[in-house]
Symmetry: C2
């Protein structure tokens, strides 16, 4: 097997964290902005998020939600309600205290002391309270229910240690909020949205997630049930990729979301909330990236096919561009995944080989290079990003179909690639969930012995309160957390690995982002 | 002519400002949030903005721009650069000074004094400086140009007196920023984007705008040229609906956007910027609304057709819903304006007549009501929102095509309605631009005599500096402003109405929002 010279400097197995940063920079997805904790999302990174938004938004609309928009700023007093229930409340949030800048003494600018806000405003860390206030205004009767809202917005949670896409002070997300007449419907809806997330993660992002309920200690504050989808990264860690919460009547109580029920008396609404954020872009990178950069599932690739004519800055270039343009037009006229195929003919100045590697690093699914010899032969040189190398030769594996065959087969290749990436992710996940461990010492050994221990699925008795706290502490010593209780886990047949009591369900243990 | 009982309490001619607020509330477009200067955009209002975003975004992408995303927060020092050139700099902006809330003495929450930011952050009022910084990093050589970026974002400019959509502290917009190798290309691009805005405003929003250059005093600070599209509202005032700026090398100088040109020496880039905001939603209301509420151009209507079965909460309802569903499916399978037709079958509980008026106020283009008698006759009762009343009878003008004919003709009716709304707006605009006034006293008289004076187009010598200031002062006495120099105005043939010198161009004078 020949040695392959990869396109990145850092290999995943040498330094996964450094590799992650290199992918983001080499694929021109994002960069530091100079503003603490905030990143600039560059066109390629934004294009991916835009595709994700579009696909998830369609799914959210299909399940009957309306989009709307609530203010960026939330009055401090909204958090005071919440703080009453929280001992030692301290929240990392951006606080607006002034509404004007003026020239200071030293020539610089300062917040104008005369323009101090009477009540400071908080930049939304989530919109639960302000949307709750609106729901209380909008819901009067059972006829107004269910109320199913969604918002795409930026939110801010001050972070000291940030990591692009995974943890940034400002991030982008959608937050869904619904109100229902009763518990059954609200709980069902919580699971409907979990399934929307699972389908989006698997079918669109090819993440191969595991959906399940979070243990009590991992619940969203105020939630009665919290469900999540968990994705396995290539370093074996878990990434929580989306959550769906059944909030009972807790938030309805706090915000006063009451309605006259069919019997004519007053009831509290049952609410849900659920969110997915730009963090998921990090999950795509750590699931599909390789030592040559990003690999993108075709459904979310800003460009699914990139055509690179090998221009020489000579009059012959024109014929070559025409030859490529015919392929571009053929492809652009076709559909894949029910949408027009996205194809770019890149005629910017620069060498084709350099551009090829740029698009390899960016993870464009199919790259088509066309030189004058290809044109003479009526063919193109085509590479699939998910099968970049010929292992035998250590060279890039080009295929050379005729231009016509390329035009006809590329939609199928894209569909195939989408499936292949999901299959790879599912295979890796399945190979790295260890089952059958029945005592905790073995769990400890598993996670200390192996560099990529993946996840462990164990049986437990679902302890609560203090008993659960002890479990959490014990796991924490090994930097482990309980991810969720997989919905499709096998039935229990043993005892709890923590308490020795009869097991009631299976839980996943893992290190996590 | 019979008396018509309109759906709103306030008529445009009685109190235009109160009418505007009533439309927004009756159409459930937006409401006050309780947060100073920020509104809640409700699903119907958001649906309109979402349509506008989609249509404008397509146009922006077609002209070669990439979307990206820059931080919400901008360091204070970025504004200090700018402040150096501005005497008595004072800007109404939201200033973040702390990054944590803690419990205060009285049980409430306060910004944590220990978490005071070393350098305050400003919530972006526009992203010129931070995008300029990025462009300086990304542009090295002529090969990197043109660089054509766009961002959809929320921005904040503190406002004391707010008005929904027209002037809010937080608003939503797109801001385009481009860098070019030379003046010619940058100037051309400024006009390309102006034309994108004009086409969007006319073809999608049916606003019938006038595109032209702003006079020197109305230029964006730092711009060499500022162009605008101006729309005439039904009260005769002007609304600036979009601007496009050629910034010369001023911003490139401030941010250091330099590149190695083809000759190998260093040049400053020429930049442009252009923006359109949620303010345009206000323009749609004030252009198309009538005394029954909003009227929406079909291209931006969240639902183009609403079908209302007259349900009676009886077993027969099922057959009625099936009858309606067949029409819904027929319509949903068709295209209009190159997109799938948007149709809603509304089966929520509630009376059809009440719902009809709700959708009339919301401005849904076509409302189809179906009762059991319609079903028996194989017909539907259909109304066009732009021709609501039969003037002779004072009643709503229903048409009763067969269900099949309705299914076939509705796409054409929608296209017709889109054209009709544009024609109405253009007609009103043309009827209300007064030309031929040759001295200023006559202008004064025109604007003081008439309650709806519209706009006046006069000839002027394009005074600059102090001479222009005098003109502006004089206009200000009558609350008038110079809107722009229409691109397609007739050639000049007289003298300047202000200076008496030979005229060089024609300008529009108007009161404005
Ligand atoms: Zn959550
Ligand atoms: Zn501007």
């Amino acid at each position: 097997m020949a040695q392959i010279r990869h396109a990145l400097n850092t290999k995943r197995e040498d330094d996964f964290a450094a590799w992650y940063q290199e992918v983001i920079s080499a694929a021109e997805m994002a960069e530091e902005s100079g503003v603490r904790g905030c990143m600039v999302i560059r066109p390629w990174g934004w294009g991916i998020w835009e595709r994700m938004q579009r696909l998830l938004d369609d799914r959210i609309k299909t399940t009957g939600h309306d989009n709307c928009y609530f203010p960026l700023f939330i009055p401090l007093s909204n958090f005071e309600r919440e703080a009453e229930h929280v001992e030692g409340f301290a929240k990392e949030m951006a606080v607006v205290t002034h509404h004007r800048l003026i020239a200071g003494k030293d020539g610089g600018l300062v917040p104008d002391p005369e323009a101090k806000l009477e009540e400071p405003l908080v930049v939304r860390p989530t919109s639960e309270t302000i949307i709750g206030d609106a729901m209380a205004r909008w819901v009067q009767s059972w006829r107004d229910l269910p109320l199913k809202l969604n918002q795409w917005a930026n939110v801010v949670r001050w972070e000291m240690r940030t990591r692009m896409f995974l943890r940034t002070s400002e991030f982008l997300w959608q937050e869904g909020h619904t109100a229902h007449a009763d518990e059954t419907e609200a709980k069902e809806h919580t699971l409907t949205m979990l399934e929307v997330y699972r389908a989006f993660a698997d079918e669109d992002l090819a993440l191969a997630v595991i959906a399940g309920e979070k243990p009590e200690n991992e619940r969203f504050p105020g939630a009665v049930e919290t469900w999540s989808i968990e994705a396995m990264m290539q370093d074996g860690k878990a990434l929580q990729a989306g959550t769906s919460h059944y909030l009972g009547t807790n938030f309805a109580q706090a915000s006063g979301i009451k309605f006259q029920n069919k019997e004519g008396s007053e009831s509290l609404a049952h609410t849900t909330s659920w969110g997915v954020s730009t963090r998921m872009v990090g999950g795509v990178i750590m699931t599909h990236g390789d030592d040559d950069g990003l690999r993108l599932p075709p459904r979310i690739a800003p460009q699914q096919v990139v055509i690179l004519p090998m221009l020489r800055d000579k009059p012959e270039d024109e014929a070559l561009i025409d030859y490529c343009e015919a392929l571009r037009a053929t492809l652009a006229g076709q559909s894949v995944f029910g949408e027009p195929l996205r194809v770019l003919l890149d005629t910017r100045p620069g060498k084709a080989a350099q551009k090829r590697w740029d698009y390899v690093r960016k993870g464009a699914p199919i790259i088509v290079e066309v030189g004058s010899r290809d044109m003479e032969g009526g063919v193109v040189s085509m590479l699939r990003r998910d099968r970049l190398w010929d292992a035998a030769t250590g060279k890039v594996e080009f295929q050379n179909p005729t231009r016509e065959v390329a035009g006809q087969t590329i939609p199928d290749i894209l569909a195939d690639m989408q499936n292949a990436l999901l299959a790879q992710a599912a295979e890796r996940r399945d190979a790295n969930v260890t089952r059958g461990i029945t005592d905790f010492a073995e769990v400890e050994k598993h996670f200390s012995d192996s560099r990529y221990p993946g996840w462990v699925e164990v049986q437990w008795s679902r302890p609560t309160g203090e008993a659960l706290e002890k479990v959490v502490e014990r796991l924490k010593e090994h930097k482990l957390t309980i991810r969720n209780v997989p919905m499709d886990a096998a039935p229990v047949d043993g005892t709890c690995i923590f308490t020795g009591e009869p097991a009631v369900e299976r839980v996943l243990l893992a290190k996590a982002y």
